[in-house]
Symmetry: C2
Subunit: 337 residues, 2 copies
Amino acid sequence: MTINITAKEMNEVLTTLFSKYGFSSEKAKLLAHVHTENTLHGVNSHGINRVPFFIEQLLRGLVRKDAEAEKEEGFGSIERWDGNLGSGVLNAIKCTKRAIGMAKENGMGLVALRNTNHWMRAGYYGWMAAEQNCIGMMFTNTEPNMPAWGGKESRLGNNPLVIAIPRKKGHIVLDMAMTQFSFGKINEYQLSGAQLPYDGGFDAHGNLTKNPEDILKTKSGLPIGYWKGSALSIVLDMLATLLSGGRSTYKLGLEEHEYGVSQIFMCIDPTTFHQSNIQEQLLEEIITYTKDITPTRPDGKTYYPGEKSLSNKIENEKNGMQVSEEIWNRVINLLNN
Amino acid sequence: MTINITAKEMNEVLTTLFSKYGFSSEKAKLLAHVHTENTLHGVNSHGINRVPFFIEQLLRGLVRKDAEAEKEEGFGSIERWDGNLGSGVLNAIKCTKRAIGMAKENGMGLVALRNTNHWMRAGYYGWMAAEQNCIGMMFTNTEPNMPAWGGKESRLGNNPLVIAIPRKKGHIVLDMAMTQFSFGKINEYQLSGAQLPYDGGFDAHGNLTKNPEDILKTKSGLPIGYWKGSALSIVLDMLATLLSGGRSTYKLGLEEHEYGVSQIFMCIDPTTFHQSNIQEQLLEEIITYTKDITPTRPDGKTYYPGEKSLSNKIENEKNGMQVSEEIWNRVINLLNN
């Protein structure tokens, strides 16, 4: 069962909620904005749905409400920050801002952040960079949830990766985890009693399967491109760990709960170059070329990365967001108890 | 039919060949070294096998033997270079060196290169960065050879991506194209009369298939992770095109032959940070964790990215390289005619 909630209502409820749980007025507003924005973009799983779990992590002491990311050291265009186990969202916003600032000053900047927490929807930080006319590339490591290719047990994180490119008519934002389907999506298929359209993970015998229930039991998602996504996940974890001096997926897997992850925020300012005025034209050419096709299904079409996310936002701003009634009630209960 | 060739012999033959076709002694040596090194690493398709085609491109005037990459403009940590349609290998080496130099000076550096040519094996430049203790990330765009997800015609390049991380016991080097199988690999399956182990492309009806012959006919490879690799390919093309001001996959597809591609070379120096001395230990932890598994096949194991490439090199340095007799004869004929 879903109910319809407007962005204004969600924002107000969440601002009050985060204030109640001890965040300053400014931080509560920002957190509420991000969770609402993520839901507006159609990513309920990392918007409103994640709020009760975030409060649990706060109450467990795994997220520290008074902590902030701080710069530890830097050399030219790269810096290392410590998240001090603060809110993953607030830390990620601070580090994205810093990477944007470095890009404006010096063409490019990279912030490696350790000891931070779940940043919710990765794409948020890509949109943020693009809004400032910057290219953004961000990724995070996670607890292990997919096997390295050739092995049975989960040893790799699905390590979401964002690549954003600014565009006046709608930013290009790739936001993808290394698993073929997110566990949120697999859950949805299970709830609706449907099989996945493609293999999405492994069953208890280590065989590839389209059955959502089997995958939810093993917690073994399929890496995109089999051995290729497995390898990409390994190198993203290595980069985040080495550059931040933080915890790897291996270390995250030693704990009961996922906290203290490692992340990378990189921004590039492309406007510095000659001919940056034809950037829009070059992007349009590429987009038009990929759309000018015979669709594989009669009613099909191709999308550029970020296109659906933007149309979700426009739609949801107009008509309100469809939110799980159960989740919304849990949020309201947290507010009233 | 294959014959056994030593690295020394290949290097000498190729140095003479490239000199004969007008490269200076120094450049001929470097080109011979790269093609030999690529073959030593087991990537014949972008080593010795590619030599006759490279000479053809030279004779067509698509590769200019006297041209060199030149810096056009720069701002802080990012620079734009023009390859002047010179050798893709020589241009890529020059730009990798420059990105390494920028990383040493300033933590990080990015070179965007336009009007260049096929760089042969992408991994070469990753190994090169890692040898200088730098993290390397490089990618190139290509002519269209896979469909955007949801469409039938090829509109995306397989845009190889390299991510390299230095490690004393053997560098970590991810070297992957955005297609599930390279066309070289699909060719091998066809020649041996075997089906691919997983879907690897589309047949004439737009259906996924394991049949190598069908895929070679349509020239429609499968993007890794279906819609995800499709999206990743789009953003890599956009980044290479925008930052270099060069040609996109769309533009490359307008020509009969692929030339004048756009590439990105990015290097990061991780040794600048505190605790960089424990880098090796962090990498070992991650590698050990991914190898400490129950294999999916009784004789199976997991590999870190770059592991097989390194063991190929060690093996081939010891025992010589297995090279297609037909290809070798073509190279010798080019030398003697």
